[in-house]
């Protein structure tokens, strides 16, 4: 019986070590770790919590129904509002659209981005050498941006 004393002491040390391990592990492993895999589940929520800047074309349709109809009837039907009007989530809030009133795009810069002649563009895409084509005039003096075909 006397010989067993040091075994028990050893077991107690191991037990204490094990408990310490559990406590330290508890403190260090973040909440939700391992829920979906080898990562902290909360990271997904962190990333999803970001605010959006582009409201999406459906959102514009709520108030600008007329513009949407005009756009969809023309050649720019596939082009989203915010492809030309920049990010408008601030403006497109339903309660107060007057905050962050959109600055209207300058057609000289805007149209050339997409339509400037470049031989890497797909053959079928309508392209013009803008300087020659418009003679320095803004594109909107001849084309309606929302329904550009003349």
């Amino acid at each position: 019986m006397k010989d067993a004393a040091h075994l028990i002491r050893l077991a107690a040390v191991f037990a204490a070590g094990f408990i310490a391990f559990l406590l330290i592990r508890q403190a260090l492993v973040p909440a939700g770790f391992g829920k979906y895999g080898h990562f902290r589940a909360g990271a997904l929520d962190d990333i999803r919590a970001r605010k959006v800047s582009f409201a999406g074309r459906e959102q514009c349709a709520i108030c600008h129904d007329d513009r949407v109809k005009e756009l969809h009837a023309g050649k720019h039907a596939g082009v989203g509002c915010e492809a030309c009007h920049e990010a408008q989530a601030k403006h497109a809030q339903l309660d107060d659209p007057s905050t962050g009133k959109p600055v209207l795009p300058d057609t000289k810069v805007l149209c050339a981005r997409c339509h400037e002649k470049n031989n890497a563009k797909p053959r079928g895409f309508p392209q013009v050498a803008t300087a020659e084509h418009s003679g320095g005039e803004p594109c909107k003096s001849c084309h309606n941006p929302h329904s550009p075909k003349l």
């Binding site: 004393a5 028990i8 107690a12 037990a15 204490a16 094990f18 408990i19 559990l22 406590l23 508890q26 973040p30 909440a31 939700g32 829920k35 979906y36 895999g37 080898h38 990562f39 902290r40 589940a41 909360g42 990271a43 997904l44 929520d45 962190d46 990333i47 999803r48 919590a49 970001r50 605010k51 959006v52 800047s53 582009f54 999406g56 074309r57 720019h76 596939g78 082009v79 989203g80 915010e82 492809a83 920049e86 990010a87 050339a112 981005r113 997409c114 400037e116 002649k117 470049n118 031989n119 890497a120 563009k121 797909p122 895409f125």
Partner: protein, 250 residues
């Protein structure tokens, strides 16, 4: 006062039983704070993207929109557009450029007899991603809905993953000194919107796709087109499906 052996054994075993119980209780308390987006069910989605080379006009809308949407610092890119100018046979090397990521379009470049096209690039959200495999702290991971994401609170900024990515899709955030990359606009797609780059693409050259949605056009797209991923020999399980990808594209 002396502790008898009996006391020692009983107390030690009580402690042994109670500590994990307390730990489990604490975990339960902590776990409650991690709440999910109520309407978004991860199990119902598996995200991918289709890219049609024949439609890209190199306008740079995607690059600018991505920078705005995700506050990407100047000179860094989560998506960018490359222009390939492939000379006529027997020249070997395509001429590739991407001025400022293609953010402001491409100046004309003529080369007789060459073919030329744009290739939009971004994170391939690989199913067997090399970047995830090399992360020493588990800060980068594959989510159940098919995205490769970064837990910025755990990233050490060691750059292993930046090197491991065969597509060059990662960068070190110059302010926080941790890695950053395309999240496929997780904050948007989990709210039912499309990504910023797809939203602003005028020709639908790129389209967000959900492989788990049986009605998604991607199934038709994959069935009816010749489709390729980048660097298929690396078996990364890339999920950007390119239509009309030229052999010269790396």
């Amino acid at each position: 006062m002396s502790i008898t052996r009996r006391d020692l054994v009983t107390n030690a075993s009580k402690l042994l039983v109670l500590t994990p119980a307390a730990a489990a209780f604490l975990a339960c308390l902590k776990g409650e704070t991690a709440e999910m987006e109520p309407k978004y069910k991860m199990a119902d989605h598996y995200w991918a993207m289709t890219i049609d080379i024949g439609k890209c006009i190199g306008c740079g809308n995607c690059v600018r929109a991505c920078a705005t949407e995700n506050s990407v610092p100047d000179g860094y890119f989560r998506t960018w557009v490359e222009r390939y100018v492939v000379p006529a046979w027997p020249d070997e090397h395509p001429d590739v450029d991407s001025p400022d990521g293609g953010k402001h379009g491409f100046p004309p470049k003529e080369k007789a007899g060459a073919k030329s096209f744009f290739v939009p690039k971004l994170c391939n959200h690989c199913a067997h991603s090399p970047c995830v495999q090399v992360c020493p702290v588990g800060a980068t991971f594959e989510s159940p809905d098919g995205l490769v994401l970064v837990d910025k609170t755990y990233c050490l900024g060691c750059r292993y993953c930046v090197q491991a990515c065969p597509y060059g899709c990662r960068y070190i955030d110059p302010d926080k000194q941790v890695v950053d990359k395309c999240t496929l606009c997780y904050h948007r797609i989990s709210k039912g919107l499309t990504t910023a780059c797809c939203e602003t693409c005028p020709t639908s050259a790129r389209t967000l796709a959900d492989l788990k949605n049986p009605n998604d056009p991607i199934h038709e797209f994959l069935r009816t087109n010749s489709v390729q991923v980048l660097k298929p020999h690396m078996a990364t399980g890339a999920k950007l499906y390119y239509k009309g990808l030229d052999e010269s594209v790396r």
